[in-house]
Structures are given as C-alpha cells and as structure tokens.
C-alpha cells in the first residue's frame, strides 16, 4: 500500500484562512442571534409563510430544472457545433448577470408588456409578475444553469462505449438514454440538483425584481430577511439562522451521495 501523499505545509495557512473566512460570518450570526426569543420568533406566521413559500418554490424550480435542463444538457453534450457553443453561453449568462438585471430582463420578456408576456397573459389567465409562479420562474432562471452545466460536464465524462454497446444490442436512442446514460449519470444528476436547489433557495435579486415582494405570495425567505433587516435586525438574523439550519438539514444527510466528494 502506498502512503497517502502528504499535504503541502505551505498550503495550510491559506487553507485555514479560507475556512475561517466562511466560518466567521456564521459565528457572527450566532453571536448576535436573539436566542431567548428564538422559539417565539420562529413560530410567527410571517416566518412560517416565508419558509413554506421558499420550500415550495425552490422545489418547483429544481423540478423544472430537471425536466427541461436534462434534455438541454444532453443535447449540449451530444456533439460540438457553433450553435451548441452559442446556446451554452446563453445558459451561462444568468450565472454572470447580476440577478437584479436578470429580473429586469425577465420583465421585458415575460412581464405584462413583455415580448411574450403580453401574449401569454390571456392564455394563462394572469400576468406572471407579482405571483408565486413568477417566483418559480425567477428561481428557475438563476438555478437551471448550475444543473445544466454540471450535467453536461458529467455526460461528457461518461465512457461512450456503454451507450454504443447498448445501441449495438438493438436499443433505440430513447432506451439507451433511459437505461444506460441516466443510471450512470446519477451521481452528477444528484449534485446538479442540489446545486440548483441551493441556488433557488437563496435567490433574491431576480425574485424581488420580477416577482416583487408580497407577503404570502412572493416574499420568500431571502426577501423576508431583506425586509426585516430594515425594521427588525433580530428577525432577520433569526430567519438567516433558519436558512442555515435548513441547508444543514438537507446537505448533511445527503453529503455521501449528493455532494461531489472523494
């Protein structure tokens, strides 16, 4: 058995600084948290509404990312062409754009006077801005790129011989995708979904711009934190701790299979 390579000593300091950099804000939150009134604060209807809305919307955005992002990622990974490169840049755009600008762009496209928003309104029966579906759309806009890029990378890393073998044995492209590609891709799919979900849960800029800030309908946890910060910082800290708790509760049990690790 070969000994594990030793960690270079010179990297210890920057690595520890990086870890401390992420730890200290969390310590700051905990130190300022109103622990004595935490329980009563968490039970308030405003927090319950925001939490429930956040969980629903981020789950819906993650589902949409899977349903539409997986086929897109599969197409992107299926070859290389100028069109694919252009579409990949397009998908990456929401990761680069400030989410607030993404929100404005969404208004211009899906808003009441938007490119397709005005045509979609009579068909949907409502305009998307200031509604819960609007929140889901805004979250999907910023979250799906993480899923698509992760899955495309995973697909390109797969050994093509398995799919080829299945095809030689007579499986059609749909069956190969379902029975060979997707099972082999599962670890990547999980981590892609988790990334997308985490991004959707924390989404703020596109949501407040596109969907507005209305308690019970569009005020998700991050918006509630922002709103509370201006009147009641203790409530904002409570909400932030709750978000940290949710993230820990989801990430910790899933760490083995869902987070990229080795």
């Amino acid at each position: 058995m070969t000994p594990a390579p030793r960690f270079p000593v010179l990297l210890w300091l920057p690595a520890a600084l990086a870890a401390a950099f992420f730890l200290l804000p969390l310590v700051g939150l905990c130190q300022r948290a109103p622990w004595s009134s935490l329980a009563t604060r968490l039970a308030s209807p405003a927090i319950r509404d925001a939490l429930w809305l956040s969980l629903q919307c981020s789950a819906a955005a993650t589902t949409l990312s899977l349903l539409f992002g997986l086929p897109l990622a599969a197409w992107l990974a299926a070859g290389s062409s100028r069109l694919r490169t252009a579409v990949r840049v397009l998908v990456t755009l929401p990761m680069v754009l400030p989410p607030v600008v993404g929100g404005v762009a969404m208004l211009l496209a899906y808003g009441r006077n938007g490119l397709i928003g005005s045509a979609a309104e009579p068909w949907l029966g409502f305009a998307l801005p200031f509604t819960t579906p609007g929140v889901v759309l805004a979250e999907t806009y910023v979250a799906m790129p993480f899923f698509v890029l992760a899955v495309e990378g995973g697909l390109r890393g797969l050994d093509p011989r398995y799919a080829e073998a299945a095809a030689t044995l007579g499986a059609g492209p749909g069956r190969v995708f379902r029975t060979v590609t997707v099972p082999m891709l599962l670890p990547t799919l999980r981590s892609g979904l988790l990334l997308a979900w985490a991004r959707a849960l924390g989404e703020f800029g596109a949501t407040i711009t596109f969907a507005g800030n209305l308690a019970g309908a569009t005020r998700t946890m991050p918006l509630a934190v922002y709103t509370a910060l201006e009147t009641d910082p203790d409530a904002a800290i409570t909400l932030s701790l709750l978000m940290v708790g949710i993230a820990a509760a989801v990430l910790f049990p899933l760490r083995r299979h869902w987070l990229p690790s080795r």
């Binding site: 300091l13 920057p14 404005v104 009441r112 711009t209 507005g212 209305l214």
Partner: protein
C-alpha cells in the same frame, strides 16, 4: 529546476500574505475623503450639491453613498465611518441620534410631497388617490419600513382609500421602474422622483389636504474623521441659499 506548481502557488500566496498587510498600514489619500450617506430620493440633488460644493472648496473630497434610508441606518449602526447623514424621515434620523454619534441636533433642510405616478399618457384615467382602490388597477407602494411607503400608507389611511399593494418595493426607484415598464398601473412616490423620471412616467397630483409632507433632516457625525471640517462645511452649504437653490431645482420645497 522549476518548482512544482503547487509549491510555486503556495509560495506566491505566502508572499502576498506577508506583503499585503504592510502595504495597507500606509495612510492612503482616500482616507481624507468625507463620507456622505444620503437617502435614495436625494440622489440627483446631492450629486449636484456635491459638485457645486467642490467648486467652492477645492481641497475637499466628498464620497456620496445613496441607498434606502433604513439600509443607511443599519450600516451606520454597524459602524460605517460616516461624516454626514441625510435621512428621508425623522424616525430614521432618531435612530441615528440614538447611537450617540451625532455632534449637534439634526437640521431639516428640505421637504417633499407625494404624488401618484402612472404610465405615460395615463391610459387608465387615474385622477387622484380615491381611484387607486379601483379593482381593475394594479398598484405598488414602497414597503412600510421605507419612509416613502410609510407616508403613502399614511396618506391612503387619511383619505380612507383601501389599496392592496401588489408588492412592497424596496425603494421609490423600484416603484418608478415598475410603473415605467407597465408592470403596474400606478404607484406612489415623491414629487421629486416623478419629476426626475418625467420622460418615462406621468404624475397625477395628490390634493394638498390628502398629501403627506416628508421632511429631510441632515446631521454631522463624529464617527467619520473628527478633525476634518469638510463635513461641517457641507452641512452648512446644504442649508445655505446656494444649496437650497439646487434642491429647489430638483423639486424639493424649502424646510
């Protein structure tokens, strides 16, 4: 022989870590700048005020920072080094006075009024506050924590008009842009905001007896650069005839 990449990288990092703190201890010219925190609705007026002030005070360097008043107060409470603070309401100013960092009593330097903003051409025929309760209208206000949102609700309550805001917007600017984009039919902002965006939105006046007057207080703080007289001079300039003329040009009323 070239070092392995990892070792080279860690050496660079270490060198940076050792040299950077040393570089920061030298006094920088930026430290002499005077920091002014002002409410978002003052943006255009204060930019012009700072320019005029700079002409009369060649050595002075002002740094302007604009945001919703509650956000400024939060940053102040958390220790931002600020020399001058201009608030959009008295309630938020009181919070700053409570920190004990002010050097004198705040002085009111301007007043503002509310107005309704509507899409260009007023397609929905909105004539006044009472119309805002119409079922066919989508209306947004600033959130109740933002001064403009609180004033708007106060005005609506006084006029006994029930309006369900479609969203609690974070600033007057956000309300104006939602109206300009046509996402909503109407919003309530300050007269000065409507004047600043008159090529994008139209204003519908709110009758005097229904209107709420916002007053803007300004104060000098000692948490900035105490020995520096520029902050004091800037406050005096805002209150002077020349400063008041600039504010009037932007639609503000005298205190």
């Amino acid at each position: 022989m070239p070092l392995p990449l990892l070792r080279r990288l860690s050496l660079t990092t270490l060198t940076l870590l050792i040299t950077l703190p040393g570089a920061c201890t030298k006094p920088t010219p930026a430290a002499e700048k005077t920091m002014v925190f002002a409410a978002a609705s003052l943006t255009a007026a204060f930019e012009e005020l700072a320019e005029a002030f700079a002409q009369g005070h060649p050595g002075a360097r002002l740094d302007l920072h604009f945001a919703g008043t509650p956000q400024l107060v939060l940053q102040l409470q958390e220790g931002a080094a600020v020399d001058v603070f201009a608030s959009a309401d008295q309630a938020n100013m009181q919070k700053v006075v409570a920190t004990g960092k002010t050097t004198a009593a705040p002085a009111t330097f301007a007043r503002n009024r509310l107005t309704i903003v509507v899409e260009k051409g007023n397609p929905k025929g909105i004539a006044g506050l009472a119309d805002l309760s119409r079922q066919d209208l989508r209306v947004v206000l600033c959130g109740p924590e933002v001064p403009a949102g609180r004033y708007a609700r106060q005005a609506l309550d006084q006029a006994k008009v029930a309006v369900a805001s479609r969203s609690d917007e974070p600033s007057v600017k956000a309300v104006v842009s939602k109206v300009a984009l046509g996402e909503v039919d109407a919003g309530i902002v300050y007269v000065t905001d409507a004047a600043g965006a008159k090529d994008k939105v139209d204003a519908v006046a709110i009758a005097d007896e229904q209107n709420v007057i916002a007053s803007y207080p300004i104060v000098r703080l000692q948490c900035g650069h105490a020995e520096d007289p520029v902050g004091e001079q800037f406050v005096a300039f805002v209150l002077s005839a020349a400063g008041q003329a600039v504010l009037a040009r932007h639609g503000f009323a005298a205190p």
